[in-house]
């Protein structure tokens, strides 16, 4: 269970409060107007920002004292998900061996499996820059797969892809996380993506992240804060 307990974060005029519980394996979209704090919410969970008050808990354990790498969480950013000068294999190698040593046979096997899972078998020696946008997204997804954490945060990592490719990537994420049972939080600007990917959604608006609700219901009958954003 991922629990945001009386969480509050503040920077200047900007504030964000959150109080919710999300079950393992859930796929949840995070929607709301630009600048409302969707990425901030993910950063609080990932540990890139510390709350002013409140706690983030996973399975009852307070994540507060843990560094981002020590949390049971992994994240895909909008960009910079791979080191451009390292081959795909080396990038994934660093994900399993953050001390920089060569992965052992078992770990190499996991890397191969992850690449196969995202359809990039044989791309081990390629540099990220030599891949297409879709392939780069797949490689990044392979990176979080080998990290194998129970919570996956997606901070609009596929925003640069076209609608069809984006839908394909979201399906792939849904598919692979169904296997691993990971909880996924997806920040999205597109209600269609949210609906396609996430049965539930968190609305972030007016300084507050609301507890997850059924995505279809939310979109059919949006609360006032979401209405303007959706253009209803």
């Amino acid at each position: 269970m991922l629990e945001l307990d009386g969480l509050r974060w503040r920077a200047g005029d900007f504030a964000l409060e959150a109080e919710m519980q999300i079950a393992p394996g859930d796929r949840v979209a995070v929607i709301g107007p630009s600048g409302a704090g969707k990425s901030t919410l993910l950063d609080l969970v990932a540990g890139f920002r510390s709350p002013e008050v409140g706690r983030v808990l996973w399975q009852g354990r307070d994540l507060g004292p843990l560094s981002p790498a020590a949390r049971p969480v992994t994240i895909l950013f909008q960009d910079n998900n791979l080191f451009p000068h390292l081959s795909i294999a080396r990038n994934l190698g660093l994900a399993v061996r953050p001390d920089g040593r060569r992965p052992d046979a078992a770990q190499t096997g996991r890397i191969g499996d992850a690449l196969a899972r995202v359809g990039l078998s044989g791309f081990e020696d390629r540099l990220p820059g030599s891949l297409s946008g879709g392939q780069q997204s797949r490689a990044a997804l392979a990176r979080v797969l080998v990290q194998d954490r129970p919570v996956l945060l997606l901070d609009e990592p596929f925003a640069a892809l076209g609608p069809a490719l984006r839908a394909e990537m979201l399906d792939l994420v849904a598919e692979v996380t169904a296997d691993t049972g990971a909880l996924v939080l997806l920040v999205s600007h597109d209600p269609k993506d949210a609906l396609r990917f996430a049965p539930q959604a968190i609305v972030v608006a007016e300084g507050r992240a609301h507890a997850p609700a059924d995505t279809a219901t939310l979109l059919d009958d949006p609360p006032p804060a979401l209405r303007a954003y959706l253009g209803h």
Binding site: F48, P68, T74, F77, N80, F83, D99
Partner: protein, 504 residues
């Protein structure tokens, strides 16, 4: 060890190695000494010439760097490497090369008189500035060229697709880049010129061109007035730190963020711009390479006069240069931050004479300084090269840290893995440049050796001076050519090593 701890150790070493010797000299002098009336004049001249020299070096470097950044032509790499040569020549050799072109009977005046035009004299404040620009234009050009090359291809592509005019291009991309790079380049060159003395005096034409460093030299070597030397060197150090802090304030550059590492050509290469670029490159090449050519021309006959002792000295110099380079880079990596860069400036700001005297006073009770001649030389060379290495490494090191901090944290990379797999490979280009510059600088003489000289381990610059002191001007020219060749070779090798096969 935590990076912060390493940075603190590295910074403490710099401060210890600069303030330590000054303190030793002050303690030994047992007191302070009032400045003389002439010292204020010297201070004023020092500031004026250093400001003008740094200003013009950076000013002219901008069009040259821009031209080199957007033109590809045969020999461009060789030209960029050769342009670095004046910076690494022993002062006396470079001055003679410069005067062979701009002196009373130099090429320039011979050409003028052949055309029936009045002769020019180089001696005076303008001569000091010309000489300092000759030395430092290459450094400024390289630093600014780096800035240009660091503009991500994506931005250039965006600018091209927007059809930005040269003016808009300047406002949107180039001016912000220069605002972040130029103040640092200015500061480094300003600080180098602060401690100039032989060039300033010779090209300045007489005692009007007295600098603070000359007063320090007089106090240490001639008057043995350590109190005065200490006071003057603290003033010099203070000026350098003010320059460094001012540059830091001015260069609040944001950087450009990252792009993916694709080579993206530039599209703003129209006809007029092309012509102008060619003119700037040609002018810079003429200004820098003709004096060098005279050094080569005069050195060739002297090469056959060189005995085994000169070659042996060349070997020592290479050894010292490689040692200094390794030391300097290890030192520079943890210090490649804004604060680190200001601290690093102390290395060139401190008068080498005071540094040498202080180190001598510190080491002498413990060990025979002569036994440490080569290690001390290597250490001091590393210290003196540190500001250049930092100027080169810092912008890119910061960009890498900023761009990948989150990914690093998300992966939980250890310090070692970060260094080995991310920082070093991504820094490869600037590391190569910094290593080349340090190695080449360390081949040159840096002045502290006077108290530590070891007859069996003399370095090549000492041999050049030794030959000149014994009337053997022709052989000295040969040894200078050897020095030039070796320095350039080291510079070229490292710099190229950083570029070739870099996956970035």
């Amino acid at each position: 060890m935590a990076p912060r701890a390493l940075a603190i150790i590295a910074g403490a070493l710099v401060i210890g190695l600069t303030l330590g010797p000054v303190t030793a000299v002050i303690l030994r002098a047992e007191g302070w000494s009032a400045l003389r009336p002439g010292d204020w004049q010297a201070l004023r001249f020092t500031l004026v010439q250093a400001t003008l020299s740094a200003f013009f070096s950076v000013l002219f470097a901008i069009p040259v760097a821009r031209a080199l950044a957007r033109r590809q032509f045969r020999g461009r790499g060789a030209l960029v490497a050769l342009l670095g040569a004046p910076f690494i020549l022993p002062v006396i050799v470079a001055v003679l090369g410069l005067l062979a072109v701009f002196g009373t009977s130099g090429l320039a005046n011979r050409a003028l008189s052949a055309l029936g035009l009045p002769e020019l004299t180089i001696y005076g404040l303008h001569g000091v500035v010309i000489a300092h620009v000759f030395f430092n234009l290459p450094l400024a050009t390289r630093l600014i060229l780096q800035g240009w090359l660091a503009i991500p291809g994506e931005r250039l592509r965006l600018a091209a697709s927007l059809g930005l005019s040269p003016r808009a291009m300047w406002q949107v991309l180039e001016a912000p880049m220069l605002r972040s790079i130029a103040p640092g380049a200015f500061a480094v060159i300003f600080v180098i010129c602060l401690s100039s003395f032989a060039i300033a005096l010779t090209l300045g034409g007489g005692p009007r061109a007295t600098t603070v460093e000359l007063a320090i030299y007089q106090a240490v070597r001639f008057d043995f007035d350590l109190a005065r030397a200490a006071v003057l060197s603290l003033i010099q150090l203070g000026l350098a730190l003010v320059a460094g802090l001012a540059a830091l304030r001015l260069s609040r550059g944001e950087g450009f963020g990252i792009g993916l590492d694709r080579v993206v050509p530039r599209w703003d290469s129209g006809g007029a711009a092309r012509g102008l670029d060619a003119v700037w490159i040609a002018l810079a090449a003429l200004f820098l390479l003709v004096p060098l050519a005279t050094v080569v021309w005069r050195g060739v006959p002297g090469l056959v006069l060189l005995g085994p002792e000169v070659w042996q000295a060349a070997g020592h110099s290479m050894l010292v240069a490689l040692g200094s380079t390794a030391l300097c880079l290890i030192w520079a990596l943890p210090l490649a931050t804004r604060t680190g860069e200001v601290i690093g400036l102390a290395g060139i700001a401190l008068s080498p004479l005071v540094l040498g005297t202080g180190l001598f006073l510190i080491l002498r009770p413990v060990v025979n300084p002569v036994d440490l001649a080569l290690p001390v030389t290597a250490l001091v060379n590393a210290l003196v090269s540190l500001p250049f290495a930092l100027r080169i490494l810092r912008p890119e090191a910061e960009t890498i840290r900023r761009d990948y901090a989150r990914l690093r944290a998300a992966l939980g990379l250890t310090g070692w893995a970060w260094l080995r797999h991310v920082l070093l490979p991504r820094l490869r280009r600037p590391l190569g440049f910094a290593a080349g510059l340090t190695a080449a600088l360390s081949m040159g003489d840096l002045g502290v050796i006077a108290l530590f000289a070891d007859p069996d381990n003399a370095t090549l610059p000492l041999k050049v001076y030794g030959l000149m002191g014994a009337y053997r001007m022709e052989a000295a020219a040969g040894a200078a050519l050897l020095l030039l060749t070796l320095s350039l070779g080291l510079f070229w090798g490292f710099d190229r090593g950083g570029r070739v096969g870099a996956r970035a």
